[in-house]
C-alpha cells in the first residue's frame, strides 16, 4: 500500500462515476424515446459497480492487511432496467397501439437528476481525495528537506 495505490484506486472511482454519468445522460436524453434498434421504447440503463481487489502481491508478502482489503471499482455491466414502460394515452402519436396508448420509457426524470447529483458529488469527493493524496505525498517528500 503506497501513495500510488491510493491514486490508482481513486482514479478507478472517478472513471466509474464518469461512466455512470454517461449512462444517466443517456437516460435523460432518451426520456421520451419510443423507437430503438431493438424495437419498443428505450429502456432505462443502470451502471453496476463491482469491487476489484488491488493486485497487491507485495501486500500479501508482508501481511499488509490494509493493502489486501483495498479495492478499486469498475463498471461490471450496464444493466437494462426491466421495469414496464409508462403507458400514456396519445392516439395521435405514430407509435400508439390500437387502444391509443403510447409506451414511453420507464424513466423518472427527477430520479435521474438525483442520481446525477450523487454521481457528481462522488466525482468531486474522488478529486478531493486525489488532491489530498498528492498533498500527503508532497509532505512526505518535504521530510527530506
Amino acid at each position: 500500500m503506497n501513495f500510488f495505490t491510493a491514486m490508482t484506486i481513486t482514479a478507478s472511482g472517478l472513471d466509474a462515476q464518469r461512466t455512470r454519468m454517461n449512462v444517466l445522460a443517456s437516460n435523460l436524453a432518451n426520456a421520451r424515446t419510443t423507437r430503438t434498434a431493438a424495437g419498443g421504447p428505450y429502456q432505462r440503463l443502470d451502471a453496476v459497480f463491482q469491487a476489484v481487489p488491488v493486485g497487491t502481491r507485495f501486500g500479501e508478502l508482508v501481511g499488509d492487511s490494509a493493502a489486501q482489503s483495498a479495492s478499486t471499482v469498475e463498471v461490471s455491466q450496464i444493466r437494462q432496467d426491466q421495469a414496464p414502460p409508462q403507458l400514456v394515452y396519445d392516439p395521435t402519436h405514430p407509435d400508439a397501439d390500437a387502444r391509443g396508448y403510447v409506451a414511453l420509457p420507464n424513466i423518472n426524470v427527477v430520479e435521474e437528476m438525483v442520481n446525477m447529483i450523487t454521481a457528481s458529488r462522488a466525482y468531486e469527493a474522488g478529486v478531493t481525495a486525489m488532491q489530498s493524496i498528492k498533498g500527503m505525498a508532497r509532505s512526505a517528500l518535504s521530510i527530506a528537506g
Binding site: F3, T8, T10, D15, L141
Partner: protein, 143 residues
Amino acid sequence: MARGMLGGVIVTDLFRSVGLMHRALDYHLQRHSVISSNVANVDTPGFRPQELLRSDDGGDGAPRALAATDGAHFRMSGGELSGLVVEASEDTTVSGGLDGNSVSLEREMSKLAANDLRYDGAVKIVIGKLAMLRYAANDGTGG
C-alpha cells in the same frame, strides 16, 4: 595509500548514484510524454493508451545484481547503470469503448500526477546527493 583508494571508491559511488537517478529522471520525463500523448488522444477513435515499460534485465533477460564485495552486503537486484530498458507498449488492462478508444482521462491524469511525484522524489534524492558532495567539497563546513 589504501586509505586514499578507499576514499576514491566512495566518491565514485556518490557520482554513480547521481548517474542512476539521472536514468530515473529520464524515464519519468519520457513517461510524462507517453501519458501526455494518451491524454491528447482521449477522443481519437481506435486509440489504445500506451505505457512506458521499464525493466532492469539489461536486455538479456537476466536481472543485474549489485556487486557484493563483502559477505555482510545485502544481495540486491537492479540498480546497474546499463540495466534500464524503456519501451512504449499498449496498456492491455483497459477495455475499449464503442469507438475502440480505451483512454480513461481520470486514470491517465492519476498516472500523470503519480509520475510527477516520483519525478519530484528522484529530484529530492539528487539534491541530497549533490548536497553531500558539496558538504564534502567544502571540507565539512557546510558553507
